[in-house]
């Protein structure tokens, strides 16, 4: 055990231990940075989804009172797929309010589709104004409802985004 009495051994031992300590500290810092980056990513994602939902809500609020059945169907299909995609983008959220409002929106979208089916034109050569009015009245209540539910959802996302950012 002659090496135990050699000064070089202790110098290298100290250097080795210091290296290990710095490596561990670097690992800890990298892990912390990674977690911070993930949380920041989640916050950005929540904000992006909130912005896109706001755009949908604004679109619904500007519903044309002369909308045709086919335009209403296209609009409903478009917002339906967009909302479902956006909700699945933030499905990692663990929040009872979010789950509840998401479920309500899905149900309203299904009901709106049924209401629209009720004004699908069955006769040609009919009074165009009556047709347009019937479509508007069939969907406006649902679009108003969806818009309100989206506003609620946006509020929840903003709150969660704030919580993550802290």
């Amino acid at each position: 055990m002659a090496f135990l009495q050699a000064i070089d051994f202790y110098i290298f031992l100290v250097i080795g231990l210091l290296s290990l300590t710095f490596s561990w500290l670097a690992f800890r810092a990298a892990k912390g940075a990674r977690e911070a980056a993930i949380e920041a990513g989640k916050t950005v994602k929540l904000q992006t989804v909130a912005v896109e939902l706001t755009e949908i809500s604004n679109k619904l609020n500007r519903l044309d009172d002369k909308i045709t059945y086919f335009n209403a169907r296209n609009l409903l299909n478009e917002i339906s797929s967009k909302i479902r995609r956006l909700l699945s983008n933030v499905s990692y959220l663990q929040d009872d309010d979010f789950d509840e409002v998401s479920k309500s929106i899905s149900e309203t979208l299904i009901k709106a589709k049924k209401a629209l089916d009720n004004v699908k034109p069955t006769t040609e050569g009919i009074d165009e104004e009556v047709e347009l009015e019937s479509v508007y009245f069939a969907v406006e209540g649902f679009f108003f409802e969806i818009s309100n539910q989206l506003a609620e959802l946006i509020g929840i996302l903003e709150r969660k985004s704030f919580d993550l950012g802290e």
């Binding site: 059945y69 009720n118 069955t122 006769t123 009074d127 009556v130 047709e131 009245f137």
Partner: protein, 116 residues
């Protein structure tokens, strides 16, 4: 009781009677909306009835409009006009019966034409 009840009820009763008698030619434009048009001295009047399946339940819309000037003569929403909601709902059922009967009658006439 609202003011409009005394004003509109006789009109609704009359439309109901004429519908049951088959004197009004209601046109179905989609599964929940019917209308008829009548030319009167002052212009062309269009009457529409629609069942709306809203997010908070069904209601009926009854609308009478002078088409040339676009003047609304009656514009009813049974969520607000509760006093006559039943009357409008019954009229809607009568209109549905009329449309179903007209369809059957048309089929019968066509069948008769084929057979003879």
């Amino acid at each position: 009781m609202h003011e409009y009840v005394n004003e509109i009820t006789p009109f609704l009763d009359s439309v109901m009677d004429k519908t049951v008698a088959g004197d009004i030619h209601w046109k179905k434009i989609n599964p929940t909306t019917y209308y008829w048009i009548k030319n009167v001295e002052s212009g062309r009047v269009r009457t529409t009835i629609q069942r709306v399946d809203g997010p908070n339940g069904d209601y009926y819309r009854f609308d009478v409009k002078e088409t040339e000037r676009g003047e609304e003569l009656i514009s009813l929403d049974t969520r607000e006009a509760e006093d006559i909601a039943d009357l409008v709902a019954n009229l809607y059922l009568a209109v549905e019966d009329y449309a179903a009967y007209s369809r059957t009658k048309r089929t019968d006439i066509l069948r008769e034409l084929i057979e003879n």
